[in-house]
């Protein structure tokens, strides 16, 4: 019985919470985090755990020399506010670093980075 009360309170807390949003953490990327792809991708897609404020979100893709190789045209997926898509220039074989900083709709800021590799033909 002593355990039932706090568990009920916990359930009520979640049940009564407004339709809240939270920190946007990266759930999936295409090309995938740390992956090696055989064909140079034309775009990078990032999908997060929460809807984003695109105007305050930044994604960069750089090659091994630090040169920016994205097209600086990040757009939100019209069917999924959790996803961002950014075009890429023609990528040569090599390692590319993705750096992102996004703001979820409740204004929480999260950041991250990862690399992917384009294999030689």
């Amino acid at each position: 019985m002593r355990l039932v009360v706090p568990l009920l309170a916990s359930g009520l807390l979640l049940g009564s919470a407004p339709s809240a949003d939270a920190h946007a953490f990266l759930e999936r990327a295409e090309p995938a985090v740390g992956s090696t792809v055989g064909t140079a991708p034309a775009a990078l897609t990032l999908r997060f755990s929460e809807p984003l404020e695109l105007a305050f979100s930044v994604v960069r893709v750089q090659d091994a020399t630090g040169a920016r190789v994205d097209r600086n045209d990040a757009t939100a997926d019209p069917t999924d506010r959790r996803a961002l898509r950014i075009g890429l220039q023609a990528l040569r074989p090599g390692t590319y670093k993705v750096t992102w900083r996004v703001v979820s709709v409740d204004t929480h800021v999260t950041t991250g980075d990862f690399v992917f590799h384009v294999a030689p033909p």
Partner: protein
């Protein structure tokens, strides 16, 4: 129920109510456990270094502690709650309380509330690039606010504490798979407000009166948690295909120790090793750990601890999840 016990419960209720209606808007710089790319989960056996708006409800545990001076061991079952509230981005307060059942061989079970636990913490240093932070805090177990039936101390204990956290995300590419590792920890010094206490007992057979004197040493409270963040692995090192459920698990081992420093108890360390896992969702976290005693002085049996933990800054981002006084 004692008067002090009733007052304590009212104080908890009033504090939680006051925290819950704190609606003043402010900025949110460091929310629950996020430093740079790193999300540090709320640890269970050892307090983490973060100042946050969070609620642990409930934390349940069962552990048999070794008896002292030849006395039989006692299993303690506890159900507790703690709420923490930011006053500013870097400074927050916490209130905790727990109900206990003590089971000792050959005796009737004893139940009651433990002492009220109050805390204050200041996040002194935060470095996003190196996923590092240091906090200073002070905890107070308020004597006399719990029940004598469960041996709640009649005296208070004040514990100034240094907390730290460090993620290994700045390791080089050659050891990228070690980057999800992180460590958090604390070192505190518990100072009781009484050096000793005495209790007079009457022998039922002879009628003789005995006086038992219990000494209360100062205690170094220290511990740390080593964790491997699968969310960090998935998002920043390599997507190994764990998916959105398994990819939220953070295996960890917590080490919690107490080392008395004086009054005849110097160096008699007690402690537990607590392996387990945490599952961190968007608004809440669940965790379960084994409690393994490190020596005979601590106990002989493995116990268990579990916790449901809510991120109030994510559940109520515009109201109680914000610091009362922002930047």
């Amino acid at each position: 129920m004692s008067i002090s016990h009733t007052r304590a419960r009212r104080l908890v209720a009033a504090t939680i109510l006051a925290l819950s209606v704190s609606l003043l808007p402010s900025a949110s710089a460091y929310a629950h456990g996020v430093v740079g790319k790193r999300f540090f989960p709320a640890t269970i056996a050892t307090d983490d270094p973060f100042v946050a708006d969070e609620l642990s409800l409930p934390t349940v545990s069962s552990f048999r502690e070794a008896g002292e001076n030849g006395e039989p061991s006692t299993r303690t079952e506890e159900v507790s709650a703690e709420i923490a509230k930011r006053l500013t981005d870097e400074f927050g307060l916490s209130v905790g309380y727990g109900w206990q059942r003590l089971k000792t061989s050959g005796e009737s079970d004893r139940t009651g509330w433990g002492n009220l636990e109050l805390g204050a913490k200041y996040q002194l240093f935060t470095n996003a690039e190196h996923e590092a932070l240091i906090s200073l805090g002070v905890d107070a177990e308020v004597g006399g606010t719990g029940s004598r039936r469960v041996d709640a101390d009649r005296f208070s204990t004040i514990t100034p504490t240094v907390f730290f956290g460090k993620g290994l995300g700045d390791l080089p590419d050659s050891v990228a798979f070690l980057r999800p590792f992180a460590v958090t920890g604390l070192v505190g010094y518990g100072i009781p407000t009484q050096a000793k206490s005495s209790q007079r007992t009457t022998d039922p057979d002879t009628g003789d009166i005995d006086t038992d004197i219990e000494r209360h040493p100062n205690v170094i409270e220290w511990g740390f948690a080593i964790e491997y963040s699968l969310p960090y692995l998935q998002a920043n090192v390599r997507d190994v295909g764990l998916g959105s459920f398994l990819g939220r698990i953070i295996p960890l081992v917590e080490f919690a120790f107490e080392t008395p420093t004086n009054r005849g108890e110097s160096g008699k360390t007690k402690g537990t090793i607590n392996p387990g896992f945490l599952w961190a969702g968007q608004q809440m976290q669940f965790g379960v750990e084994a409690i393994i005693p490190v020596n005979d002085r601590t106990g002989h049996d493995v116990g268990v601890r579990a916790q449901l933990h809510f991120f109030l800054d994510d559940i109520f981002p515009t109201t109680v999840g914000k610091p009362i006084f922002g930047k």
